[in-house]
């Protein structure tokens, strides 16, 4: 009943949501993912494709796009948005939903394609590989952009984090085992089954907590308007 009332009163802006995700980056991301899968189908071995392409490329692209979803300094009508009865977090929900729909579609099709590879894992295992780090990156990307007010900080953090995780997988993990709790690209055969499951849960939790924290920041109108900030665009 309440949900219906919300839909009646607050118009959904899906087209704007999808426009904030755009088509260019998803197209490039999909090209890399499907290209890597097709290359594997052809039996070629390329060093950087040792990881599952889906679990490496998807969190990076989703993280970068999540950072671009909402940055207070890049929202010209922010005061108007805050003055409207529709809560500001609603805007973030819409845009995140659009992001999830677009990349969910790419990842879903890619997961089904992965099943056709020789010695393929089950669909559930494939989802467990890419879904938790992707949720983690959505939360982190959104949170950094909202808290720093600039999308560039979020993009910077997403690129650095994914790069550090990819390098850390081979360099840090053999030396510092405790890092397997939070490594994005930890492989099931590197750690025990319990540790792997814990890793996936922690990454999901990080994503959800950071996303919730970003929503909390959006509810603070004074902060969104930069009342307490020095002039720093």
């Amino acid at each position: 009943m309440k949900g219906k009332a919300i839909l009646n009163h607050w118009q959904l802006a899906w087209r704007r949501g999808f426009r904030s995700v755009g088509w260019f980056l998803p197209l490039i991301g999909a090209g890399i993912i499907f290209g890597a899968i097709l290359t594997s189908l052809g039996g070629f071995q390329i060093a950087f494709l040792r990881f599952n392409a889906l679990e490496v490329v998807l969190p990076l692209f989703v993280g970068v796009q999540a950072a671009l979803l909402f940055a207070p300094d890049d929202e010209p009508p922010l005061e108007l948005m805050l003055a409207k009865p529709r809560p500001l977090p609603w805007v973030l929900f819409e845009r995140t939903a659009a992001l999830i729909v677009i990349y969910g579609l790419i990842a879903g099709v890619a997961s089904l394609l992965v099943l056709t590879l020789p010695n393929a894992e089950s669909l559930a295992q494939t989802f467990v590989r890419w879904l938790p780090p992707t949720i983690g990156m959505i939360g982190i990307g959104v949170w950094i952009s909202v808290s720093s007010r600039k999308a560039s900080s979020g993009v910077f953090a997403a690129v650095m984090l994914c790069g550090a995780m990819a390098v850390g997988q081979t360099v840090l993990l053999p030396r510092y085992e405790f890092m397997s709790w939070v490594m994005f690209y930890v492989q099931p055969w590197d750690v025990s089954a319990e540790r792997y499951l814990a890793n996936r849960l922690i990454l999901t939790l990080i994503g959800l907590l950071t996303f919730a924290s970003a929503l909390g920041l959006l509810r603070d109108s004074e902060r969104m308007l930069g009342t307490n900030q020095a002039v720093a665009q």
Binding site: G22, F24, L25, V64, L68, D73, D74, S148, K150, A151, S152, S153, V155, F156, V159, M160, G163, V167, V171, L172, R175, A230, V231, A232, Q233
Partner: protein, 301 residues
């Protein structure tokens, strides 16, 4: 000149307030220190316990650290001595190993700086348009070249200050963690590899994003430039990071594309460095023409 000084000063202040440059340099410093602390094993050829090889009165003597930690000197028979490469004679191998460590830390850490600088600097010029400062600037007698030079120089000054600080801190960490090293090859690597690469990346980012009307578009263009930055990094690493070979061929160890080529090694190193720096000069000119051309085209509209 006053206009230029003003642009540089205020843009530097804005970089500081935006936290873009401090964030970038702190990340680079963190990468340098973390990789520096982690790296322990360098090429076994120079790190096998042999500290130095000396030749005196025709007798070759090896100084080496044995398993219990004590240092011993022993003469080498003539046949073994004749097989030693000339660059090894008189070189403090322990110091050379530490120097190579420094080079091997700088190379991967620079990747962080190159990739990180692109998104963080992509909004420097588009921001003026987003906040309608461009219209105010158009009303002043400020030439487009001066504006672009001011923007570029302000970012360069900030980056050079940051690089100098990082250099000082990193060299101290290297010394405290591993001991004495040869400063000259490392300094050459910073001067010939790190600085030109950083300046080129920031220059390209600033001018290629200069046509964007909003910060968001600038950022999207910047994301597209990341693969170009990565390519530039690898090409530079393969040619410029081995500049230490001009001091001694051993400083080519572990650097991409470098190998010990005997007596011609220094010539080869010099040729590859000069060749790459010339390519940089051409790239600088091409990028400048692009940025200037876009600015002129916009004005003409």
């Amino acid at each position: 000149m006053n206009q230029l000084r003003g642009i540089i000063r205020y843009e530097l202040l804005m970089s500081w307030r935006r936290r873009a440059l401090p964030m970038l340099m702190l990340t680079f410093l963190a990468a340098l220190v973390l990789i520096g602390l982690m790296i322990e094993q360098v090429s076994a050829t120079v790190d096998r316990g042999v500290i130095s090889v000396q030749v005196q009165d025709g007798v070759t003597t090896i100084t080496q650290r044995i398993e219990d930690g004590s240092i011993i000197e022993e003469p080498l028979d003539a046949e073994a001595a004749s097989r030693l490469p000339p660059w090894m004679i008189g070189l403090d191998l322990s110091q050379a190993a530490n120097t190579i460590r420094g080079i091997n830390v700088l190379i991967p850490a620079l990747m962080v700086l190159v990739v990180g600088s692109i998104p963080l600097l992509s909004d420097v010029i588009p921001l003026d348009r987003q906040y309608r400062i461009r219209e105010l600037l158009d009303a002043t007698p400020l030439h487009r070249s001066l504006y672009l030079i001011g923007k570029v120089l302000s970012v360069w000054v900030g980056l050079l200050i940051g690089l100098a600080l990082c250099f000082g801190i990193f060299q101290s960490v290297l010394y405290l963690r591993y001991g004495a090293y040869d400063l000259l090859p490392l300094l050459l690597d910073w001067l010939v590899f790190a600085i030109p690469l950083t300046l080129m990346t920031s220059f390209g980012t600033l001018l290629f994003t200069s046509w964007a009307g909003t910060r968001r578009v600038g950022l999207l263009v910047g994301i597209g430039l990341i693969p170009v930055g990565v390519y530039l990094y690898f090409v530079s690493a393969m040619t410029l990071s081995g500049v230490g070979r001009l001091v001694n061929p051993v400083y080519g160890f572990g650097t991409m594309g470098a190998s010990l080529n005997g007596i011609n090694d220094q010539t080869i190193a010099l040729e590859s460095v000069i060749g790459m720096l010339l390519i940089y000069a051409v790239a600088f000119a091409a990028v400048w023409m692009f940025g200037w051309g876009v600015a002129r085209w916009r004005e003409a509209r």
